[in-house]
Amino acid sequence: MKLLLSFHTPKQPSTIGSMDSLTQIVRNIFSRDGFFFLGNLLSIISFFLTIFVLLNIRKLRNTYKLRVRGPSLIKDLSKSASNLSGLMNDYSEFLPQITEELGKVGVKLRSLRRKLSGSSKRSVKHVITYIDQCEISPQNEAQVRRTYVEIVKVIEELKDNQKDLDWEL
């Protein structure tokens, strides 16, 4: 028997030692402090998970809105850009109409901005700033023309964005 015990002796300290430390860890976890710590940790993790889920739901909702409303808003924008281009055939004669058309474009872009994210949202914001800063006067034709070009650019980007949405949903 002694011989048998001595045969097993070298392995025992490490196994028993690790078993002891494992038991200790389990005991620590199930102690009051351990429960507090674990509870706090899980609360923090679930808080971040909730935020993550909420952000994703918001993104999904916006994508859905963009998918449904996007095409008609882009169509309206295209129509306004076309009108704007036509009105600029005789810029000084059509100043009130140009003001009205730019106003319409601004409203449509603001509606689209809320539904967008990423680079498209930045581009739309950029054009809204252009429109807001654009003073429509006989002396300011170059700036109005610049704004028109920016509108056409953003329409092209939004069209590409709509094509990408076809793959997302």
Binding site: S82, G86, V149, K153, D160
Partner: protein, 104 residues
């Protein structure tokens, strides 16, 4: 924004401005249909074609010496340029002025 495409939109936007300000004069391109204009030693061709059941405006740049042409990437600005060219060729502005000045 995709900058490469934007550069072409800028270019077509400039052509629209030049057309509307009568600094670029277009004429009917008889052998091919559509319209043509000369600018900076090159010839610009603008014509309508059908693509995927839609009529679109195509803008091409041609070198008169080599006869090689190059197509501008499509954007809505092409359609606006087409409208500006028609406006210039028909003389809509002058017609409107004359019409409004006409005694009744």
């Amino acid at each position: 924004m995709p900058t490469e495409k934007n550069k072409w939109i800028d270019a077509v936007g400039k052509l629209i401005t030049l057309t509307q300000e009568r600094k670029l004069t277009w004429r009917v391109a008889t052998p091919y249909g559509g319209y043509e204009a000369e600018n900076l030693g090159k010839v610009l061709y603008l014509y309508s074609t059908r693509e995927d059941d839609e009529t679109i405006a195509v803008l091409k740049l041609k070198d008169p010496d080599t006869d090689v042409d190059w197509e501008f990437p499509y954007s809505e600005a092409n359609e606006h340029l087409m409208e500006a060219v028609k406006y210039q060729l028909v003389g809509v502005g002058d017609f409107l002025d004359d019409l409004l000045a006409q005694a009744v």
